[in-house]
Amino acid sequence: MSTTAVPEVAVTAVDEGFWTRARKAGAVLLALGVLATVLFGAFATDQQARFTLSETEGGAALEINGTVGAILFGVIAAAAGAALLAGVPKRWFTLLLGAGLVAFVLSFLCWQVSAAPEGRNFMPLVNVLRGTFILALPLTFGALAGVLCERSGVVNVAIEGQMLMGAFSGALFGSISGSVWVGLVAAAIGGAFISLLLAVFAIRYLVDQVVMGIVLNLLAVGVTGFLYERLMATDAEKYNSAPRFGNWEIPLLSDIPLLGPALFRGNIFLYLGLLLVLVIHLALFRTRWGLRTRSVGEHPTAADTVGVRVLGLRYRNVIMAGLVAGIGGASYTLALYSFTKNMIGGKGFIALAALIFGRWSPTGALLAALFFGFADQLATYLGAIGSSIPDQFLAMLPYLATILAVAGLVGKVRAPAADGKPYVKG
């Protein structure tokens, strides 16, 4: 008798104990803030820390005295932590946590920049922003490949292998043909080849998808490594000197201060990546294909009973994921470097982390990739200004950020319900 309105019962509040998630985060942040205030404040010098809006030392800049800045931002971070610890309404959580972390990073930067040797004690924000995007780009492609796959219910651990194969075929066929476009197409097909294997074994033969993904990564390393030795290392001129895409400047937009030089003077991969994020996001949530993809990833039996071809759709999506990841791999070999063995170096796995951190949404994946890209860029920048922090620690930064982000900041995430579960009729 659902005609009678049922009074909505209020859910009993549970005393989670003193240490709620917000409080734990607050305690950590408070500790970081105090650390920043004391340590960074002590190490920072009285030099000005300059954050220039250009690529060089000159031009407009934001300036602050190193010691003052380190202490000020440290105190802000500690205050945000203390507020969380004291207990604030839930909706403030993200804001306070974000503000606190940004303040901590700024405090750190004030120390580092002010302590850098004369002539290098400035931070060109354009360079940092551009570097962040460049480093985030392969992650974005990789994470998009993950979105395409996992939204339809196939776990894609093979992103690394797809990117590596893409990078390799892009370099090889680009070199042989002498055309960047041929290279680009070949890269996409190379990535799709690995994902086709994933699709066949995961969908047709019901092999465990995670295990299959790892095996494919190893396969890609092996195959490309072997061919690299056989072809590229012996005759680099012929096989490993692919032409590269240049930078295309977009009129008007590229004149915007700060954003213009960073975002609108990039290569085709930058534009393609951003476009793909937008397109896949719209497609996933606004089109027939997207609705069916999501239904297959959530409840394949339901999709089957209304006539959606579950397996066909999964095949298609997994292969599309390979195309995207392959292009991501080509963003190295057709724009930046020539091919080297195992050149993706774990970026595919960080892309997987970006996928989860971004909660299986294309825009979320982009933001997560930018976060990791920034960590990476920061490490490079600190190396360049001769930071007192040892190289090895700087090199750890992106991975540290990944662990912290996935373990600490993600919170409760719901993967597509049928992710990783093979579909068998009946």
Binding site: T3, V11, R286, T287, T301, A302, T305, V306, K412
Partner: protein, 511 residues
């Protein structure tokens, strides 16, 4: 099947009703035989062929994507698109269509609601809307009332009548006799994969039941009045989340006394599972206390709970109750394998295990080829008897039995029920959780009704079914007008204006 006919397909669990209908819906392929529509044989390669042939199906387990809205679920597979090749969804049109169909048949479904937030009865109507928007002529309803409260069932029957009036044919699969007699135009009875008879709805219940199970059955439980002793299990203010971190048990207070059976009734998914798992130490409690014989069990491992004298018949025997690949004998000692006489130090004592297995197989009438047979090869009823035998072989203070007779044949049901009552009579506190109201009424000395994670009322076993049904739907005597009986009467015209059939689903039999 004729146009505008409601044809009931009656049969016990596992008789082959659902399989038959899945073939008809194109999900399974027939090994032999043909399906005729309008005299022509039909080859169904998949559900889309069935839909094209005008056949729609509402599955026992709903085929709805929980995170989608009603409109998204309805349009899935038959999306209206605009924008050419891009295939942009025409959501506005889908919403309008849902509103229109739901209005025409008085289904009252909100197109923008998200499925997982909807009660089961409404989800079922979404399924019906889904079929209707695809212009089906034949609608298959597979066990549609299994998850409904009696009141929701009455509403469903009203919907079925209005569909029939609109010229749709309906196949109604069930094992509940009352519903069949209330609504069917024709009845086909299936047993062990064969049609064993066709009957008119005027046939008596006993005739139908006999056709269905192949022999006369007794539908009541013999027992003496209970003699409750001191409280054994006390639950106070218990709060538990489900696997998705959604509140499932929301402040439950319960007491079970020695020598009584407390029945927990409620539509499935109202927190019963989580309540039991919390008591057994299988699920963390967020607030509240559970005490056993006056001792709080907070932080106890499941093993410690079991050792304290709690017997547990889990809801899903094949997942939680048995190790299917293990032998009957091994399954019989899963709880005490490390205790003498079955184990000592690091070693097991196979002789003692085999001896005790033999005794218990006899005592509990487990039909198995041998004690060494893998438990997975036994029938559902005998598997359940293995669990009951194991749990009742220890001295117990408390027995918790969840859905003790689900998917179990009639003979085993009687046996298991008598064992439960015997355990009560030796002074064990018993808690029976079942979504079959008849089972709860038959076994229990007191009935606690759960609704949305709360115990909404505790009543005696003589309480009219209608009143318990109202409680299961979340309506307490306070919120319903006047007393619950009047509340029910007032609701019936509201649900479509049809007078309740003399043998309405309000008192259906479980065969």
């Amino acid at each position: 099947m004729e146009p505008g006919e409601i044809h009931a397909l009656l049969g016990e669990n596992g008789a082959g009703k659902s399989t038959l209908m899945n073939v008809l819906y194109g999900l399974y392929q027939p090994d032999e035989g043909a399906i005729l529509v309008d005299g022509r044989p039909l080859r169904l390669k998949g559900p889309s062929d069935a839909i094209a042939a005008g056949i729609g199906m509402v599955h026992q387990h709903f085929m709805l994507v929980p995170v989608f809205t009603v409109a998204e679920n309805v349009m899935l597979g038959a999306e209206q698109v605009k924008g050419g090749i891009a295939g942009l969804l025409d959501r506005r049109r889908a919403r309008r269509e849902v509103a229109e169909v739901s209005g025409r048949y008085n289904l009252r479904v909100d197109p923008d609601a998200v499925i997982e937030d909807l009660p089961v009865g409404i989800q079922q109507r979404v399924e019906i809307v889904k079929a209707l928007t695809r212009d089906v002529d034949l609608l298959i309803l597979d066990e549609p009332t299994a998850v409904l409260t009696p009141q929701e069932t009455e509403e469903l029957l009203t919907v079925m009548r209005s569909l029939k009036a609109a010229g749709k044919s309906i196949v109604f699969i069930t094992h509940k006799l009352g519903e069949v007699k209330a609504i069917a135009d024709r009845i086909t009875v299936i047993r062990r994969g064969r049609t064993v008879g066709t009957a008119e709805p005027s046939a008596s219940r006993d005739e139908l039941a006999a056709l269905m199970v192949g022999r006369d059955v007794r539908l009541t439980v013999d027992k003496q009045p209970a003699q409750p002793g001191k409280p054994v299990l006390e639950v106070a203010g218990l709060v538990v989340d489900d696997d998705r971190q959604v509140r499932a048990v929301d402040g439950v207070d319960l007491t079970v006394h020695a020598g009584e059976v407390l029945g927990v009734a409620g539509v499935q998914g109202n927190g019963q599972t989580e309540l039991i798992e919390a008591i057994m130490g299988l699920r963390p409690t967020l607030a509240g206390t559970i005490s056993l014989d006056g001792e709080t069990t907070h932080g106890w491992s499941t093993k410690r709970v079991l050792r304290a004298g709690v017997g547990y018949v889990p809801e899903d025997r094949s997942v939680d109750g048995l190790v299917k690949e293990f032998s009957v004998a091994e399954n019989l000692v899963l709880d005490i394998y490390d205790r003498p006489p079955f184990g000592k130090g690091l070693s097991l004592k196979p002789d003692a295990i085999a001896r005790s297995a033999k005794e218990r197989i006899e005592q509990f009438d487990v039909r198995t080829s041998s004690a060494e047979a893998a438990v997975g090869t036994l029938s559902g009823g005998n598997q359940q008897k293995v669990i009951v035998a194991r749990e009742l072989s220890r001295p117990l203070k408390l027995l918790i039995a969840a859905q003790p007779t689900r998917g179990v044949d009639v003979g085993s049901i009687e046996f298991i029920h008598s064992q439960v009552i015997r355990e009560r009579d030796v002074g064990t506190a018993v808690m029976v959780v079942s979504s079959e109201l008849d089972e709860v009424i038959g076994l229990a000395d007191r009935i606690a009704v759960m609704y949305r994670g709360r115990v909404i009322g505790v009543v005696g076993p003589d309480t009219p079914r209608e009143e318990i049904g109202l409680l299961m739907a979340g309506i307490t005597p306070d919120t319903a007008p006047a007393n619950p009986h009047e509340g029910n009467a007032a609701a019936t015209p509201n649900a479509g204006g049809t007078a309740p059939a003399p043998e309405g689903p309000g008192n259906e039999d479980e065969a």
